[in-house]
Amino acid sequence: MKCFLPQLDLKAKVCTLLGRTFAALWFVLICLSGGVWMALAETGPLDRAIATRASTSHWAFLPPRDPLRVSKSSGSAVAAANSIDGLVGDQLDRLQIKPVGLANKAALLRRVTYDLTGLPPTPAELKAFLVDNSGGAYEKTVDRLLASSAFGERWAQHWLDLAHYADSNGFELDADRPHAWLYRDWVVKAINEDMPYDRFLTLQIAGDEVEPGNQEAMIASGFARSGPFEIVSGNIDLEVRRNDELIAATSTVGSVFLGLTMGCARCHDHKFDPIPTADYYRLQAFFAGARHIETPIHSPEERVRFDFEKKRIEALLKPLETAKAKLEKPYRTRLQQAKEATLTGRERAIRALPREQRTPAEARLFEGISVALNVTWEEIAEEIAHHPNDHSVRESLKRQLYELGLKMPHPPAQAMSMMESEKTLPETWILRRGDTKQKRAVVSPAPPSVLLSTMGEASFNATFSAVDAKHSGRRLALARWLVSGQNPLTSRVIVNRLWQHHFGRGLVATPSDFGTKGSSPSNPQLLDWLACELIRHEWKLKSIHRLIVTSKTYQRASGEISRSGEKRDPENQFLWKMTARRMEAEGLRDSTLAVAGILNPKRGGPGVRLPLEPEVRDLIFTEAEVVDLWPVDPDLKEQARRSIYVHRKRNVHYPLFDAFDAPDMLTSCSQRPVSTHAPQALVMLNSGFAQQTAATFARSLLDHSPEVKARIHEAYLRCYSRLPTAKELRWTLEFLRTNPRTDLDRWTDLTLALINSNEFIYVP
């Protein structure tokens, strides 16, 4: 033991030295070969063979090798009941790190319940688990959690982070996407049904090709267009816009499914990975025919009902609009006259000219002068504000119009698809520096050349068979290549994502970058074994979840310390213990509602707008005169839905989500940061959500029992999955006794304190 450390240091130094030398050589190689690729990309012909000359020995580009089948030397790996533990244990043995013991049952239940469902266990679930001393009690619980709909509701959020899903377009108008939720619901359902990952992937890349006409497939195909998209009027360069669509699809598919930062290669050969610019455009070429298409997926009856209801509301709106216009008319006239009085002599002369006598320039100026004479709503509103009677009538009309408008029916469902609809496919050009004006050479669809080289050219069938007259089969070919089983990245990338969300960090710590600049796997054998296991389980992700959470590695205590672990692996990369984790924003909100007893388990449907702090609501951008841009559902039960069902706008962020590191949904997010700062305390102490939920929690405790101690026990069980210690009970009684306020206030203070405590916010 004593000689271990110096030895490790020496080894480390040698490794570092070698690493740096290697990095330097690598850099030179890339620079040299980059020049060749660029020259090729610019002049064509595009010979794939040359592009793959760069290192094909990077671990992630080679097929995963099942360590248990390859070598028989790793003794404990074979012996252990769950191979995860064997592979982790082997590594810990090698590093001479002693793992800590297992977590206690209560902590374990809290961990696995939050992890799989995003919610805390109820006191009843806790009691049932604690009294069940049968051998398979934990495994039974895991199966129950995996089968619950809450499982999909939690894990879908991880996927939506990658898709950077939101319910609005972003950019200037940030218009709502009234049908986006269909995709969100599809993800939840697919995860709950344990849809095999190969199918899950195929439907999202080529849903329209694999199952033409299938509504769910059309919804799923919207994956690559879940991110922001600019829609504005005016002189828009359609080619640039189309290119932006394709960039979004290509980069997202590259980073999410392949774990490669393809986007970098759009403007120049990738600096670090063997991905020449041509490879980026070859990948983009798969999507050349796929367009944003809204496909109606409602019945004719639904359409008729919608039209009827819409007309009915419009008929009710009409008289109110007329009344408003009538009220405004004298003001409008007066304002118009005032504007006319400011016309210059020259402008008057142009206005006086009969139409046929105007030169083209004068005709234009005539139109322009009319624009300047337009009276805007802002001017009318300002003018009427000086006349209290008319002002209040106008305000009331506006309010009535607004309230009627809220009754407009939700438009009948449409799938936001990404699909082909035309026979002929546009050509894909390599663009110099990504500029649509600088076309260089035409490319045809092909996967990244380095992978073709490691997998063999035969792994990809370059002659597509058209699915039908409108579907070239290009994206289907890409999907089939991705899930062919020989692909070294697809399975590794997804099992690593699962691992990441179970342990807080992936075996590869850069989950969307498996390239040469990404992290090396902390346990390569384990990663490969899981990847092979996924394929053996026919791509069923739940079986991987089950393997992970039933492993001893997952069940280790988080609060215990092993000296050797602390010394040799203070960051716990090698998993000698579990690492406690702060809840994510959505988990925190859902858990708070759950312990208060008001979480509404209703599933699916259009997103719910939560009440928004006035500071944020008042600033929502609009150029129109709008009564309220954030109509909240008055039904409090709707406001207590799970966070996955909350309406998420790209340009309007909920302070609670913002403070707790929810992603901004502007780019694909593979790993959320965990920050600690004062605005978190402000939102959890001062927001209407925290205070009202705490009060509801308090009321449910008062109803729970007349006994003070029983209430305290219940509160601790709900928040911490344990009873208070004698000391804590004493403090709590004292805290309640010395509080001069009403009973409800006293208990609200307690519940507010509990939901702000570290033990609630951190999962053991």
């Binding site: 690493g19 200037e172 930062t261 670090f272 624009v371 600033l619 700062h677 004062a678």
Partner: protein, 496 residues
Amino acid sequence: MSLFMFPKPPVKPRFPVTESRALPGGSRRQFLESLGLGFGSVALTQLLASEPSTKPIVAPHLGHLGPSNPHFPARAKRCIFLFMVGGPSQMDLFDPKPELNKLDGKHLPASYGNVNSQFLETDPLCLGSTRRWGRYGQCGMDMSDLIPQMHQHADTIALVRSCAVDSVIHAPAHYQMNSGRVLMGFPSLGSWVTYGLGSESQNLPAFVVMAQPQGTPEGGVPCWGSGFLPASHQGTLFRPGSSPIVNLASADPQFDRTRQRRILDYVGTLNRRHLGAGNSELEARIKSYELAFRMQSEAPEAVDLTRETAETRALYGVDNPRTAEFGTRCLITRRLIERGVRFVQLYSGGGPVAWQWDAHDDVNANHERMAGATDRPVAGLLTDLKRRGLLDETLVIWGGEFGRTPVSQKGSRGRDHNATGFSMWFAGGGIKPGTVYGSTDEIGLHAVENRAHINDIHATILHLMGMDHLKLTHSHEGRDERITNVAGSVMQNLVA
């Protein structure tokens, strides 16, 4: 040691064991960050990361508890960005064009090239400026009658007449003026600056944004987003009044300070029991609650203008209904700067078109209103910063996301968006005062001399604040990102 893993290993741990030993302080870093109130006190993370190195980027910080050191001596310690949303017209404010007036009402001569704009027709008509012009200060800087109070500051500011961005659409141009890119999701200038320099204030955010009360600019919240930098570097919205920050005041007034103190004490008791030995992340959380508690009394003080003299309030136009709103925000800005806030961004314009510099229909009517609301407050801010000795170390920036076209939009009295040549000005913080940098062609359409692309402008701002734009980087999805993307050079002639 730490019980918590660092959430986002920023570089590739090529050799896991060494790497983890070299990165002892993921959570320590977070702890440090939280000491600065989480508004970004950890900085210059990437001094050593400009090449793909295996060196941990966190290491350089471990010695710092306070604000980090810049790359080289900074001329400006703080920055105020006065953002004129919608695009002010250079031809009517800072860049007189007699030639354009001669062409008024005529078709744009082909010799000036194409006009790329959002709504323009293909053969637009020229629109002269009807403003009265003068030359002011010892330097004789041109300014129009729209900004009479700024005339006295001609020798204070450096005017750049050759600015350029890549989009003529508001939102992408907002994003680019703030983040260097026309896309959503990249860190804004304020985020980069606080990421690089940290916070000087223990009780206030390092990066404050004050929007027009009528609404945000078109680009919305992402204009001051932190992109892939830690969320603690995003801009914090401030507003005048007793509760300047969201959730600073209790939603339910029943939760008074005594009651909150009791709750916090109980939380503290629970937390201390739960705390693992030496767990810095959990310690940081405890501290963040105490800071939040302090902030509730100290942040309202920062925006309390009753402590200012009548003379000062008048200087900013707080006593005049026309200028009161923007004047109030300018005066709060000075108070925030005095209290160590690193970056303040003030938006003039947002929400309805009537409240933006977006003069499509009638440039005079629009600019008389917008300049009328901001001229005195802006000039007052410069005067006040100067007389208090704050201007030397404070960089003040004025400008919109683009300028306006010398041609009219469809024959109207208004101008469309122009991204290829427009004016911005800079003051204080190491800027060469009384300078005019760059120029546009004879009608103000394209920059023709010393073109100042937004990448160059950002490079210069960072330079003045002591940072090399090539070195202020952050690794994201396999790429070392910086605000200037793949371009940008410092405009040395602007630097004193």
